[in-house]
């Protein structure tokens, strides 16, 4: 926390640290990496969604000239990994059976990609086909086949929460409405497919350079599944082309590259095709949910009941978090005094799920904000008004114990409604034109337990420049840039004097991961602490020369001086050289931060003050619906956004607009389709469409500038709240435009037309 008000670097839209290498094509991603003697790996994939592996014959592939190694699941120790010790259910590669279409069953390393591809054709796998489980409902049938061999049920994980007196809340309600909602499987949507380069040195120590969102999560999982000590693996992150929660876990590509490198003694690179990613890698859970909402005549919510089945494919992955998040964060962004929640994560024979931007708060908010609109209409309260009535405010204590320190949500609602012209639209609008609203909130990183702090190191070089290293990951969201801005601000240096270091587990302090809008908040606070540590060290060296006490030394505008006598000082560079030349002092600032005053997540009850830095958003979406075709055209998207103090306003806008654009396809057309045997049907970009610039509306971001008491420079996390608000805003807008309510995503033109015909009695 800081009380500084006038910032020189923070709050400015400085150029991203990675802008030039990326736009000039000089950034090196995992697929660009090369190493002497490097081999190329390819993965053989299952054509079946569920089958016993009877045998795998790799002899012909091994005999092919140019093939240097072939592996299967049996080359690994057979130790499952997983995010939680009670849901470890995933092997590096399958041993006894395949669980989904496209699952990797063998891998080849060869001197070139063509040879590796040719070798895949020579591997003979004998399968014994098994019946498949495709949906949540299928998974829960008493006679459903078991999907995961490590579990004795298709129910992977459950959350059952009770916050407040739900019975009393519904008894006090003047109006109650219940509604079912469904959501489909969608892909994650990062640009760069999974890729990595693995090497093993003479001591057997592994070096993995991969496209990873949270490299230390990958590292821990891999060491467990490979049955090696944590110290036997080094992980180094090159540029990462997006992740959106789809690159936390190690994938078969990572394991295969490592194992092939071990057995061949040569570096092995594997770069997936995007078809492989769309068919067989992380997607968002399919959802079947039912919500019941009670309100008073004045619109105040009295109680909420929610049940939810998430179908997550054949492994747990981060699915337990998804179930938990759905329920625990029903407590925001509205004041709901009582909530009952029952969530299940179930296994099925579709591609494994992770999550996608906004986690399953996205799905929860789609349900809740759609239902809130419906209830508001039932009791005659305007959609904007009912949100304002229930919006979380400063110091609000949620039913489960979350404390909202600062909420700009009421102002976000007001400003988004004004900007989009809500009141004016009620007087006059074209046929088929509508405006929908939704609000959302996302925390700046809950305290999940285990390794959960963040740390930053600043190395002050003799040239007076500072290298920042941190355990967070730059995955395109701009983390490196904001940390450099924060370091510059705190050290009183120009932004250009701060250099981003590499992400290397041998030199970087470990981090718990890049997720949940936590990086800016947690690593940002650690950056400030590291800068203060560095200043303290330098001040102690310089103070005698300035005839002052160290605590009276100030750093600003590239100078070091005595606070009450600014003329008594020296350039920063001279101070640095004094330290190095006269003392030989290594100047490393170290900082760490963890929100130790909030509660560690209680997985059993969902209760506790789970997070600081609640980021709020109120989204208004103006759209047209063509009554003849059912086509939806998004016209304007307005986001009233409270992310505290914007560190870099341009990047913040990019996050807000990007999060919203990302969900546009989820809402209107994206769906990963499977046939009745679980075979993926649309796993090329030709068949699976994500939104482009032509599909998204013109966006406007109304910054509601608050000061979070715990955030770095008052900032909150950002980037996921707009994902959470967009689905319901569009659904509500479609209803406003043509009077049909679609509750099963995606809201395709076909569904709209069918609903219009039903409404007209055709």
């Amino acid at each position: 926390m800081t009380t500084k008000k006038e910032y020189k670097v923070v709050g400015k839209s400085v150029e991203r640290t990675d802008a030039r290498p990326k736009v000039t094509g000089k950034a090196r991603y995992a697929g660009d990496l090369v190493a002497p003697g490097m081999l190329h790996g390819k993965i053989l994939r299952s054509p079946l969604a569920h089958a016993n592996i009877v045998s795998i014959d790799t002899s012909k592939a091994k005999a092919l000239p140019g093939v240097m190694g072939v592996i299967t699941g049996r080359d690994f120790p057979g130790i499952p990994f997983g995010t939680r010790p009670d849901t470890r259910d995933t092997l590096p590669m399958p041993i006894t059976k395949v669980h989904h279409f496209g699952e990797g069953v063998a891998a080849v390393a060869a001197i070139d990609e063509d040879t590796a591809e040719e070798a895949l054709d020579l591997i003979k796998v004998e399968y014994e086909e098994l019946p498949v489980v495709l949906t949540g409902a299928d998974a829960l049938k008493p006679d459903a086949p078991l999907v995961n061999e490590f579990m004795k049920s298709n129910i992977c994980y459950t959350s059952d929460f009770m916050f407040g007196d739900v019975e009393k809340g519904f008894a006090e309600a003047d109006h109650i409405r219940e509604q079912a909602f469904t959501s489909q499987r969608v892909t994650v949507g990062f640009i760069e497919p999974h890729a990595c380069l693995a090497e093993v040195d003479n001591s057997g120590r592994i070096l993995l350079q991969g496209s990873k969102q949270s490299p230390y999560i990958t590292w821990r999982h891999m060491c467990r599944a490979l049955d090696i000590p944590l110290g036997n693996m080094r992980i180094l992150n090159p540029f990462v082309g997006g992740a959106f929660s789809g690159k936390h876990d190690p994938m078969d590509v990572d394991f295969a590259a490592v194992k092939l490198a071990e057995i061949t003694g040569r570096p092995v690179k594997i770069v997936l095709n995007y078809d492989e990613v769309l068919a067989a890698y992380r997607q968002r859970n399919a959802m079947d949910a039912r919500l019941r909402l009670g309100v008073k005549k004045n619109g105040q919510i009295t109680a909420l009941y929610a049940e939810n089945i998430l179908e997550g494919g054949p492994i747990s992955g981060i699915g337990p978090f998804n179930v938990y998040y759905f329920g625990a964060f029903l407590n925001i962004p509205y004041k709901i005094p009582a909530i009952e929640y029952h969530g299940k994560l179930v296994y099925a024979n579709r591609a494994p799920c992770g999550t996608v931007r906004g986690q399953e708060v996205v799905l929860a908010q789609f349900c809740l904000d759609s239902l809130l609109h419906m209830v508001g209409e039932d009791i005659g309260i305007d959609p904007v008004e009912i949100r304002a009535i229930n919006a979380v405010t400063d110091n609000w204590h949620c039913a489960n114990g979350i404390v909202c320190d600062i909420s700009g949500l009421p102002e976000c609602i007001e400003r988004s409604a004004a900007k989009i012209g809500w009141k004016e639209s009620r007087k006059n609008r074209p046929d088929g034109r509508g405006i929908g609203f939704s609000c959302a909130s996302h925390p700046s990183g809950p305290r999940l337990g285990g390794h959960f702090g963040s740390a930053v190191m600043l190395k002050l070089m003799e040239a007076g420049k500072v290298i920042v290293t941190h355990g967070g990951t730059e995955i395109g969201q701009g983390a490196n840039t904001v940390f450099c801005q924060m370091a510059a601000e705190e050290l009183g240096l120009p932004y250009e004097d701060i250099i981003q270091g590499v992400s290397d587990s041998d030199t970087t302090i470990f981090d718990s991961g890049m997720f949940g809008d936590r990086c800016t908040y947690w690593d940002g606070n650690a950056t400030i602490a590291a800068a203060r540590d560095l200043k303290k060290q330098l001040a102690e060296i310089i103070a005698p020369e300035l005839k002052a006490r160290p605590e009276d030394i100030e750093f600003a505008d590239g100078r070091v001086f005595v606070r009450d006598n600014p003329q008594q000082g020296m350039d920063f560079l001279r101070a640095v050289r004094r330290a190095y030349y006269e003392k030989g002092a290594p100047l490393y600032g170290r900082g760490y931060w963890a929100a130790t005053d909030i509660d560690i997540v209680d997985w059993k009850t969902g209760k506790g003050n789970l997070a600081h830095g609640l980021d709020f958003i109120a989204t208004g979406m103006e759209l047209d619906v063509d009554r003849e075709t059912g086509k939806v055209t998004l016209l304007r998207g307005v986001h009233g956004d409270d992310a505290g103090q914007p560190i870099n306003p341009a990047m913040l806008e990019g996050q807000v607009c990007g999060g919203s654009a990302h969900m546009t396809g989820h809402c209107l057309w994206e769906e990963s389709l499977y046939d009745e045997k679980g075979q993926a049907l649309n796993y090329t970009w030709r068949d699976y469409k994500q939104p482009t610039a032509l599909d998204v509306p013109e966006y406007f971001v109304e910054h509601v500038h608050t000061h979070d008491p715990y955030g770095p420079f008052g900032a909150k996390g950002a980037g996921e709240a707009s994902s959470c608000s967009t689905l319901a805003a569009i659904a509500n807008g479609i209803y406003d435009a043509v009077g049909v309510r679609i509750t099963d995503l995606p809201i395709t033109p076909e569904k709209i037309l069918a609903a219009l015909k039903a409404k007209e009695g055709k």
Binding site: P85, M151, H248, I318, G450, R518
Partner: protein
């Protein structure tokens, strides 16, 4: 005798928040028993290891970490003792 169990997650197979066990059961034996009733979903000891996997678990007896007890995992439990079993996780969403 009965040992009370406090946890931050649902322990598979455990009904309520206590477990009836034999007199003189040690902490190690209790963990083995909980692993058994969870149908091996919970494994407290890493493969071929004799210590609690500290990456996964925080285990306590009457609110004191088990490793601060003189007999550590061999500490005999008494009727009414409170054993804490808290899960640690790797990563987030």
């Amino acid at each position: 005798m009965v040992v009370r169990i406090v946890s931050n997650f649902v322990i598979p197979g455990l009904e309520g928040e206590s477990l009836g066990v034999a007199e003189g059961i040690t902490l190690r034996q209790l963990l083995v028993e909980i692993s058994r009733i969870s149908e091996k979903r919970l494994e407290f000891f890493r493969k071929e290891s004799d210590v609690v996997d500290s990456e996964d678990w925080e285990i306590s007896i009457n609110n004191a970490p088990y490793y601060t007890q003189a007999m550590q995992l061999e500490t005999p439990l008494k009727d009414g003792d409170l054993v804490g079993i808290r899960i640690s996780i790797i990563g987030g969403g």
